[in-house]
């Protein structure tokens, strides 16, 4: 009887990749599950300045000239907000940005430096945080540098 084994064809398929693929797949799945990505978020910076009232409620040092205040009063209903700066009113970020930019330019033209203007956001106690971030962003876009929150009205 002829043995079949003697007729087996020998071929060289290179190194066995199966263990490598196993290990690499495990590493890949681990990294996909354990890793987190931090690219979708950023931060709006606020250096809370000296204020006699409100959030930055510290006494100003002697001899310090107080900043020119610019109060933004923010009120809201369930689905919209209204910001009032002096006699001007706005209920969306682009309009408020352009109004604030114009005010900053007017103040700059009278000799007030931007660094000496204190923007104070004065929200109602039920105004949503989301709306306040919109107002804060409008002030940043208008290139104000000192922005803070005041106590709720």
């Amino acid at each position: 009887m002829k043995m079949n084994a003697s007729k087996k064809v020998h071929y060289d398929s290179g190194p066995n990749m199966t263990p490598l693929v196993d290990v690499v797949m495990v590493i890949l799945i681990f990294l996909m599950l354990a890793g987190s990505f931090g690219g979708a978020e950023h931060y709006m910076v606020s250096n809370i300045p000296f204020k006699e009232k409100g959030v930055g409620g510290q006494a100003a040092p002697k001899g310090m000239i107080p900043d020119e205040p610019l109060d933004i009063r923010v009120d809201s209903t369930a689905d919209r907000w209204v910001a009032q700066v002096g006699r001007l009113r706005a209920s969306d970020v682009p309009t408020l940005t352009s109004q604030l930019r114009k005010m900053r330019q007017d103040l700059n033209s009278t000799g007030k430096k931007t660094d000496n203007i204190q923007v104070v956001i004065s929200p109602g106690k039920n105004v949503k945080y989301d709306y306040l971030i919109g107002v804060y962003q409008a002030a940043l876009e208008a290139e104000f540098t000192k922005i803070s929150f005041a106590t709720a009205h």
């Binding site: 990505f37 979708a40 931060y43 709006m44 039920n126 945080y129 306040l132 971030i133 919109g134 929150f149």
Partner: protein, 159 residues
Amino acid sequence: MKRHSMPEMKEGGVNVTPLIDIVMCLIIFFMLVAKIGVSTGAEAMDIPESILGVKIEDMGNTLTLNVRPGGGDQPYITALVDGKQQELKLWEPRPGGQISSPFLEVLKRFRKQNKDFKVIIRGDKEMPYRYLEPVLLKCAEANVKNVNFNTKIGSTTAG
């Protein structure tokens, strides 16, 4: 004369070379991009969107506060303090009728340890300002001068 023939070639199964190439690329990508074991204490919540904002490279000097509406007028604040995620109450009664503020104590301790201490506020976008206000007041009381509002990078904002 006996002739030697070439050994018979046989298909060795599925060709895994392209698979290994792609998987290796993915591994290198994940190793470079993913942050593993770095926890700032940030919790998943619906934070507001903003167009403007900066990246904070050095998170070592920061304390991330997760602020949500709580019971009554007190916000529900959590943060990673001493390696443990814990709730920081704005005020709580102590035996003897005194009122303490664990939140303020933590802020003061961090501020004392590090002059460049920063606070990051992650607030629920639906949260009314009455919950955020006491957090900002306590930050001012603890003399924390740098407060950062964490927002999603977006193309639009409210309004």
